[in-house]
Symmetry: C2
Subunit: 214 residues, 2 copies
Amino acid sequence: MKPTDKIKVKRASKRGFYDKETVYKILDNNFICQIAFVHKEYPVIIPTIYGRENDCIYIHGATVSRMLVELEKGFTISINVTQTDGIVMARSAFHHSLNYQSVTIFGKAELVTNEIERNNALKIISDQVIPDRWEEVRLPNEKELKATKIIKIPITEASAKIRKGPPVDDKPDYDLPIWAGVIPIKKMFEQPISDPDLKEGIPIPDSVNKLFKD
Amino acid sequence: MKPTDKIKVKRASKRGFYDKETVYKILDNNFICQIAFVHKEYPVIIPTIYGRENDCIYIHGATVSRMLVELEKGFTISINVTQTDGIVMARSAFHHSLNYQSVTIFGKAELVTNEIERNNALKIISDQVIPDRWEEVRLPNEKELKATKIIKIPITEASAKIRKGPPVDDKPDYDLPIWAGVIPIKKMFEQPISDPDLKEGIPIPDSVNKLFKD
């Protein structure tokens, strides 16, 4: 992708990446984004789940959702996905940092109206959160589909910003008797908690078991 | 806080909270926020670390940071902090959800110029990420302070949105032989990785040990 002025990483520019592979890998490793849009001249920021397929981000919500009503107007919006990988502890306060992987997208949202694309988008979003869950559940009925709005944002302007590795201190500070290093942060799934109203004899499904296989 | 029209939770309004205790608890449990501001009529969204003290959010960055230069102009900005607590798996695709705790703030940023407040803000931000680290490190020198800008955002308009607990399905779906429940998500610190350039004999400091004491 071309690093337009909008998405070019200005601060710490060596941390900026503009290739699809890097950007999509970060998007695919997460499922929550923050979306910002302008409403009455002030910015509104709303977290939501998303799914990516090819060069598009899909999000969904209630047909009456204020955010989706705003988004489908087609003004430029901004999306950010940030994954925190570690706390970087330097010898100096100044050089403390975070290890992270972040993607920022600028685009114009479009309302998805084609029923096949709408159904596919719902599966894409579901798969982004829990792969293969879609095959296990009671799929949306007509009433539910009517209550659901799907928006897509083509990924045309996007950049990734990544920091990884150990702290970088000023030369003289390396002699100080101060511990420095990285504390990795990991997002973990904990053991599933069955719905208290679950009928007896229903086993944990494959989609959930797969989440713990790594 | 008064739920003004800007911050009132419209969708799933029973998930909305406006009391300081709830809002500040979520803020204090996290250290990364997304900040949105309007630049040339489009929204820009940037993740950054923050610290809270009393009724203020502090953020910092390079003096030349494009975001901070925009923020100090004093236009209304929006801040979001979102913590994901679990994946809510229902019997129907439609009722899948997330357990989360999210705070949205609207406010006008102010440049902090008082040196005592600036120094205190840096400690507040540091404490938010790793309590007590400030006491262990080489503190900012004049050159570093000069290169650092501090912005504060008074928390005047804020709301929290929280979802917790098991899935809620449509009545007839409870008879389906489909597993339902919650998969908790936890953010964990992993064992510290010492800087490869760390001098021998420097132990892991108290601030780090305390992170693992829960």
